[in-house]
Symmetry: C2
Subunit: 573 residues, 2 copies
């Protein structure tokens, strides 16, 4: 299919042909995700709804924003990108999320939860101001609907005086099962009969927010979806509408239907993940200490907390996709003497920035942030790389930042955290790839000398991946008779002042799995900037968003290539 | 009054005595705010409600969290801090916000909108886990109630299974008049008769979120407040309750009652504010360019946008206290070819961090952030200092960051922004204190050489305050025959590479009204770190939260003292 004609093409097809198309799309989704990884069950659930959208509306003139965006595969296939799925989520290949630069059919990039309604409102307001009359649609899951940003948007819908269609794709799941009163409310609505729903008598919340409620329907019933959307299309000329549909996550693939959380994201699973260590150690701490509590924003399993939630349900809180609330809840628990652990992906912690600064650190409360998927995360691309956390955390007063060299040190840091009385962040990647000898007792601001050198250059490596690559650099330099000393810089804050002062080497090289600006290296640099005779060279990622690709290839290309680092040292010595 | 006995003391008083107490408190509030500045009208409106809270509950055993916290004056006076009001908001004096370190009656520090419900839930959950039975209360204004964080919290109330009292202090105002569907809903409830409200028939939204609704009552009627709270206290043992009260902002002081926005915050008004320049230039741009749009999060007047909102209502959007939504709305408007300007205080922009990174910068959309109250803001203290923005913005790929040397350059930067097609941030303090000669044409990454020097040291000053202090440093060094060159480093990103490469001076000094870590200086430092013979010394704020005080005294004490900077240079040369 070529751009711009999908609607007309679909409308020329019979229902039988459309149903057959859905099956082809479903088959293609399973094939490509099995081959390249990606979001499986959510996309399988969206097939009929997406075909119906393309049947009723005229994209790209009309515009659809997919919340988070991980459910856009069928949309991409229907908008001229079928062939691209062979390289879905590969370097240079099709993105697993909507990308404006990829197609005119993707009108707004998404990746984090809750932006779709705000974005749709902005697109619609721009349409009104420019005197156009196309339709703007936001498709949002019941999980994302918990996010505060959605409330901020819907609360602003009436004052903004613009009309959009919000489709709640209700499959009862975030990555974990959806929790919260809004979810209960949606369930209550779903429990009613269609007739009652048509009168929308009980949908008063949405009505009060200026949304004409229509639901609840089977989102996997193509005929029903086409009928509803066709009728709603008329309504949209005069008002905003919320369409509530139920879809089956994993629809058409029994294994997914039965294991929605496990099949939310498909990818090669590492032999050992840091999250497993977190789960194990947190349970061990909680056995001994009743103050230990755990908080997650709808990602219990992927963060390794399932065991903790089973063993200590009264001290385990899944707050839904609400990263801001998660941090404030932790701060208040800590204010009353508890020891909260907030486990979260690096990229999603960005939503908590203000609360980390004021609620946690300004009050000096002992909340521990367990920051998973830190550094380059790979195939999900720009919106999911965890390469900014050291930069947005390192300047926050009162926050201690630890970066383990391996899983064993991570375990030791967690044991240490149990008695630590101040804000603490521990950042780590998903998989444990290496272990580096024994673990030194964990003391804030204490680094570990891993290898002695010839006194000319010392490498300060921050985190497992950097340490592994620093060893590679050492190996490459051996042939030249250069032996850099190697340090496990396991605390970004505080720095190991005494070790820094003790270096006889004139060249200090830093390596980190983070952007350079404001990162670990910049802290070291600032310290030596006005000292004659000390040169510091930092290696990390430059000033650009890092696209999808293999983790190692991206690390090589964007700043942590052992060959390039070795070459730099060789040239400087 | 001494700590811990306020409840008993008040309960021993007659209504007449209590009314007289309210008048004394009100008088004291007016006196101290007129003397020291602060939040006037919101505190005047809270007097009776606060006395009633202290009458019915037993603080500090029971706990109350004030949202934002600017309405806590009566609470402070009733909890043994009456005398402290002579030095309210002064250096070392009483804070204008709740402070745990100040009194056991302040159980949780606030300063930014929307945290109170989450915090109360955490305090309450800690109470439940520890087997205590005290009461936890959140007092939140109708303006803060628009914030997404409040929705995230209330949505999580039922799953958390804990009981709190949420008091909506409804005065119809944010800093600007409150907008949004939730506000309309509250107004609708307020329009009903008390009888109907008692049945709470129409308060279904709150009921669905697990809050038993009780309202609407006159929050300035002491007798009614005491009756309601006494009754609710019993209910709280088995459920969460929302009490909706109407208060008169500025109650008892006619000038405030008639001018609630103007008297929200009282302080010496500068002769000229950057916000006035913003309003003037934005209107001029909008006259010529229909794409110009303006967005504010409930602070139209204090950001200088009142004129724009009057002249271009269809292109002006007050979204309420919803900083996240504001940024996404701007991104979407820009995606459709509009030129949105989001004016916001530096400290409140922290709430938009994730959206600045992904919605605006990752998509490369031409949104202009006009960041007011940047740098030390003074008397409001830790929660309101704008000293982090350069650090949380400078590492974001694709963002251009401009810092004007004075109001004239700010105006020129705004004129430039009208044709700039990428994400742009312009940060500036509240008041225009100086002007420095003519303004060079604005080109990203171009700095301005203000003064030549003797070739030994060059000072790179970032922003008006730094430039002013750099001149002071120059003056101090004259006597020693030292003449530093002086540069107006008006772009933090990109840096003026060619000028940096051209410096013959061996010592480069940077000055900025921001924390050192991750700030302007650190970017300069990183650039020269591995170049022999170049020393860089950065002056800015160290690794601590900066308390309330006079702007100049705080700048002197925490890193930008001309005397200390001059002494450093003297010693180094």
């Amino acid at each position: 299919m070529t751009d711009g004609v999908t609607g007309a093409r679909l409308r020329a097809m019979s229902y039988e042909e459309l149903e057959a198309l859905c099956e082809r799309l479903r088959k293609k989704i399973i094939e490509s995700v099995m081959a390249n990884g990606g979001h499986l069950s959510s996309n399988l659930g969206m097939v009929e709804l997406t075909v119906a959208l393309h049947y009723v509306f005229d994209f790209p003139k009309d515009k659809v924003v997919f919340d988070v965006g991980h459910q856009c595969y069928a949309h991409k296939m229907l908008s001229g990108r079928m062939d691209g799925f062979a390289r879905l989520r590969k370097r240079g290949g099709l993105s697993g999320f909507p990308k404006r630069e990829e197609s005119v059919f993707d009108c707004y990039d998404t990746g984090h939860a809750g932006t779709s309604v705000s974005a749709a409102m902005g697109l619609a307001k721009a349409r009104d101001l420019s005197g156009s009359d196309h339709f703007v649609i936001a498709v949002i899951g019941d999980g994302s609907f918990n996010n505060g940003l959605v409330y901020e948007a819907i609360n602003n819908l009436k004052p903004l005086r613009t009309n959009i269609l919000v489709i709640i794709n209700d499959n009862g799941m975030s990555i974990s099962p959806t929790v919260g009163s809004m979810h209960d409310y949606l369930e209550m609505l779903a429990a009613d009969s269609v007739e009652e729903k048509h009168r929308a008598r009980r949908a008063d919340i949405f009505e009060k927010f200026g949304l004409d409620y229509d639901g609840v329907y089977d989102g996997n019933d193509l005929r029903v979806m086409i009928e509803r959307l066709t009728e709603i299309k008329e309504k949209l000329k005069t008002q905003s509408v919320i369409l509530h549909v139920l879809t089956k996550k994993g629809k058409g693939y029994s294994f997914c239907e039965e294991n929605p959380e496990a099949t939310h994201g498909i990818g090669a699973k590492p032999a050992l993940e840091y999250s497993e260590v977190l789960g194990r150690e947190l349970c061990a701490l909680a056995e001994k200490d009743g103050r230990i509590t755990a908080v997650t924003a709808a990602m219990t399993g992927s963060l390794g907390l399932s065991g903790f939630f089973e063993k200590f349900p009264e001290r385990a809180f899944d707050v839904g996709i609400c990263e801001e609330h998660a941090s404030v809840l932790c701060a208040a628990l800590a204010a009353e003497g508890y020891k909260p652990y907030y486990a979260v992906y690096s990229t999603f912690l960005q939503r908590s920035f203000d609360e980390i600064v004021l609620d946690v650190c300004s009050q000096g409360l002992p909340v521990t942030f367990c920051i998973d998927r830190a550094g380059i995360s790979g195939a999900d691309g720009e919106t999911h790389q965890g390469v900014f956390d050291l930069s947005f955390l390192s300047f926050i007063p009162g926050l201690t930042i630890a970066v383990p060299k391996d899983c064993n040190e991570f375990a030791e840091m967690l044991r240490f955290s149990g008695t630590f009385g101040a804000p603490l962040a521990i950042r780590y990647p998903r998989s444990c790839g290496h272990t580096f000898g024994s673990v030194m007792p964990v003391v804030p601001g204490s680094w570990e000398k891993l290898e002695g050198g010839d006194g000319r250059v010392v490498i300060l490596a921050c985190g497992e991946r950097a340490v592994a690559r620093a060893y590679a650099v050492r190996g490459l330099l051996e042939a030249d008779g250069i032996a850099p000393a190697l340090v496990n810089a396991r605390f970004v804050k505080p720095l190991d002042e005494s070790m820094l002062d003790g270096f006889g080497e004139s060249l200090i090289v830093t390596m980190e799995d983070n952007v350079l600006a404001g990162g670990f290296g910049s802290l070291v640099t600032e310290r030596f900037a006005d000292r004659p005779g000390k040169l510091v060279k930092c290696f990390g990622y430059g000033d650009r968003f890092i696209e999808q690709g293999g983790i190692d290839e991206l690390m090589d290309d964007y700043g942590l290539s052992p060959a390039e680092i070795a070459a730099y040292i060789r040239e400087r010595i």
